[in-house]
Amino acid sequence: MGALIYLDNAATTLRKPPEVKRAVMWAMEHCANPGRGGHRAAELAQEQVYRTRTRAAHFFDTKPEQVCFTMNATHGLNIAIRSLVGPGDRVVISGLEHNAVTRPLHAIGAQISVVKAPLFDAGAWAEAFRAALKPGTKAVVVNHVSNVFGCVLPLAQIARMCREANVPLIVDASQSAGILPISMTELGAAFLAAPGHKGLMGPQGTGLLLCGMEAQPLLYGGTGSMSESQRMPDFLPDRLEAGTLNVPGLCGLGAAFQHLAALPPHSTAARERELVRGLAARLEAVGAKVFSGPGQAGVLSFLLPQLDCEEAAQMLSQRGIALRAGLHCAPLAHQTGNTLKTGTIRASLSSYTTKQELDAFIHAVAELTG
């Protein structure tokens, strides 16, 4: 078996820019706890964290204080949802939302209104959201790019509708951050949650919550500020950053932002779109049922005839292809796509995915469908 062909980047990007690993290793040898002690190792940690925060702010067109570090996107989404939604509140969500959105809403006891539309019809999604935005809506939650099907929702239009209706918008940018352009200033969103370890190419254990409005802490504890008070600080980012941050991870994320900022604008998105388009056609040619459409991002679900999705993924794994099968922690998306019963096999690309890897992948699939 040759080298691993990794096509599970929607779960996490395995191959990172080399400077990310170097930054993590450097931090583990030099950085103490930021915002606590006044010594050199604490100062180094402070500066690195601040550097990452300002790079993130620049990348997403917002202010550094509005960038709050989280463990992952799920953590950020929980903060955002719990800041806005109470029991019985009406919340509009897309039919593509991940359990990171639906589970907190269920736990709170929100009244959930699910918007559905043909997967790859952005216009239909926009109209469906318009119809769903009724008076009394407490919040809207939108998955920018589906982690199951790769369809891209018309975020700018939905954001405008929310602004016009004065309804706070929460964006799940788990599959779009680092790939599609995002401006917090233009969106005017209440919150945007992103993982550091997928399209942003940082280490696992990092994430961002960009805050356009006041947030309620999920965790209470030490912040290195106003410590005589028994209340969490009423200012960001401290309000949402209790406890020790993942400093090595954030150093790596800072290096990742620097890497991303140096890439030609939109290059990753354009490349992934082109690769996915070609991949979809080739999978269909070898007998797969493929879920694809216009404007699709680098995530592609498919099914193989006569093969259970998990078994197929296992067989492909034995051939050196890393994919994810099943429901992808997004049963709602599978309901919307009519794949709840079967699940799907998902291939997801990154900027490091090569055409040769995709050739080998197709070859392996053809062996199964042969």
Binding site: Q46, S225, M226, F235
Partner: protein, 84 residues
Amino acid sequence: MYEIYLTLRSVTVAQRARDVCNRVGIRCVMQRSPRALATNGCAYALRLRLADARQAQMMLEREGIPVKGIYQKKPSGEFVPWAP
């Protein structure tokens, strides 16, 4: 001698304030706020020269950076509130 202390509520605010000062050529040192000045607990301070205090105050106000207090450290070690 950096005898002026601007106290700020958090490390992030202090870092922003430092960057603003540096941008206009005001030399300053960021450090944890002396305990005597840290009302409400832990805070950070920017230390700078008396001659730069007024300009720093104006710049930070213009940038919307909240300053908790401005103090001058006397030769005796005592901190007294400073005003332009």
